[in-house]
């Protein structure tokens, strides 16, 4: 229960940092669309072309960058939390909360865009779609989209592991001193 509360509070704090939050949601949205579209065109991951793999590499780099940005931007918060008694595992929840939430929001944005795009195409070209009902499919399938988001979340682990060692390894008062 305490961890879930910390996750909710982390989400709340993330959304109050509007600039950082919206910037990374937009970047993640673009990257998820790119990766999903590449995978959709290829059909399977084994046939995915170089664009898909470049997108994977970019997503790992972006997740490392984002984890670094969060720990840098929130370093005083993190150091203060450690000073008032937060343990490393609890600070991890705070950092993870923001990263996971950004990924979830980007996922929902992409899902909404695809749903509306599919609906618009079906509505405008109803007769055409009606004749092709057996062959009609959305631009990006839900399965591929979900798979890509899971890959994204796994890529975050790399970023988190690298970025928060800088803060969590330090004793609280030293973290506070270093961050000032």
């Amino acid at each position: 229960m305490a961890n879930f509360r910390l996750f909710k509070k982390s989400v709340m704090m993330a959304m109050r940092s509007r600039k950082r939050f919206s910037t990374f949601v937009l970047m993640y949205t673009g990257l998820i669309i790119w990766m999903s579209a590449s995978l959709e065109n290829a059909g399977t991951i084994t046939k995915a072309g170089w664009m898909f793999w470049i997108a994977i590499i970019i997503s790992i780099i972006l997740s490392i960058l984002y984890a670094f940005v969060i720990t840098q931007a929130r370093r005083m918060e993190i150091a203060t939390m450690k000073c008032i008694g937060y343990q490393n595992s609890e600070v991890r929840v705070i950092i993870l909360g923001e990263i996971i939430w950004v990924t979830i929001v980007a996922f929902f944005i992409v899902s909404e865009l695809l749903i509306h795009l599919t609906s618009i195409i079906a509505y405008i070209n109803y007769d055409y779609v009606h004749n092709l009902m057996g062959n009609f499919k959305p631009a990006i399938s839900f399965g591929n989209l979900t798979f890509v988001v899971i890959l994204f979340l796994m890529a975050q682990i790399v970023g988190i592991s690298i970025a928060y060692k800088r803060v969590l390894k330090l004793r609280p008062i030293i973290a506070l001193r270093v961050m000032k």
Partner: protein
């Protein structure tokens, strides 16, 4: 017979700075009793903040033992020190160290978020703490909308919300004007009397020590009086 809250025995601490060894604490031996209001006073660089940090578990000594409320914290793990700070210790910082993205009441509640307390109980305790420091009407404001004195009162509320056994304050009025400083010390004295919390305050200003029961004077890492 008074109960010993903190006992330091042969505490030493050094720092390395640009190849030089700085002996911040030298053979510190002292006892602080429950309910006392103690000042640690001395010139800049004498080691008073370092002493405060090791007594509160924010830092660890290189040698010696520190018994805080019956537990040796000098050799405790980082996680155990965090638990002790959450349960028994309150800390008031000179720079307030409030979280800017949280309102006044959220800053106070933050200390209790990782606990198993229900949200309603956390809120009630935070309101109680804010009432004690006369900041209830500002509970929904962010630190950026507060004066220095108001921020420090929020900091004090955060430090007492979990009813600590001992409260440490590192130059709590260092960034405040004289009127706000007096208000903060009157508040600390009231909390000491009403809650029985042991208070340990670091200051370089000898004129403030009249608020305390006892003053420990330091110079060059040693207790001199």
């Amino acid at each position: 017979m008074k109960e010993v809250m903190i006992k330091c025995t042969n505490v030493n601490k050094e720092f390395r700075l640009r190849g030089n060894i700085i002996r911040a604490l030298v053979d510190i031996n002292l006892e602080i009793y429950t309910g006392e209001f103690i000042f640690i006073q001395g010139p800049t660089g004498c080691g008073k903040t370092t002493l405060l940090n090791v007594m509160s578990g924010l830092d660890v000594p290189d040698e010696g033992s520190i018994i805080l409320d019956g537990e040796d914290i000098a050799r405790a793990s980082e996680d155990r020190l965090g638990a002790i700070r959450r349960q028994k210790v309150g800390f008031v910082f000179q720079d307030f160290n409030l979280i800017e993205n949280l309102t006044g009441i959220e800053n106070v509640e933050a200390l209790l978020w990782p606990t198993v307390l229900r949200s309603k109980e956390i809120e009630d305790r935070a309101i109680q703490a804010l009432r004690a420091v006369d900041m209830l009407e500002r509970k929904d404001h962010f630190p950026r909308d507060m004066s220095g004195g108001e921020r420090q009162r929020i900091g004090i509320a955060r430090a007492i919300v979990h009813q600590p056994r001992v409260l440490f304050a590192d130059e709590p009025t260092g960034n405040l004007d004289p009127a706000a400083a007096k208000m903060v010390f009157d508040l600390l004295k009231t909390l000491n009397k009403e809650m029985g919390t042991t208070m340990i305050v670091v200051t370089h200003d000898a004129s403030l020590t009249k608020y305390g029961d006892r003053t420990i004077k330091m110079d060059r890492g040693r207790i001199v009086a």
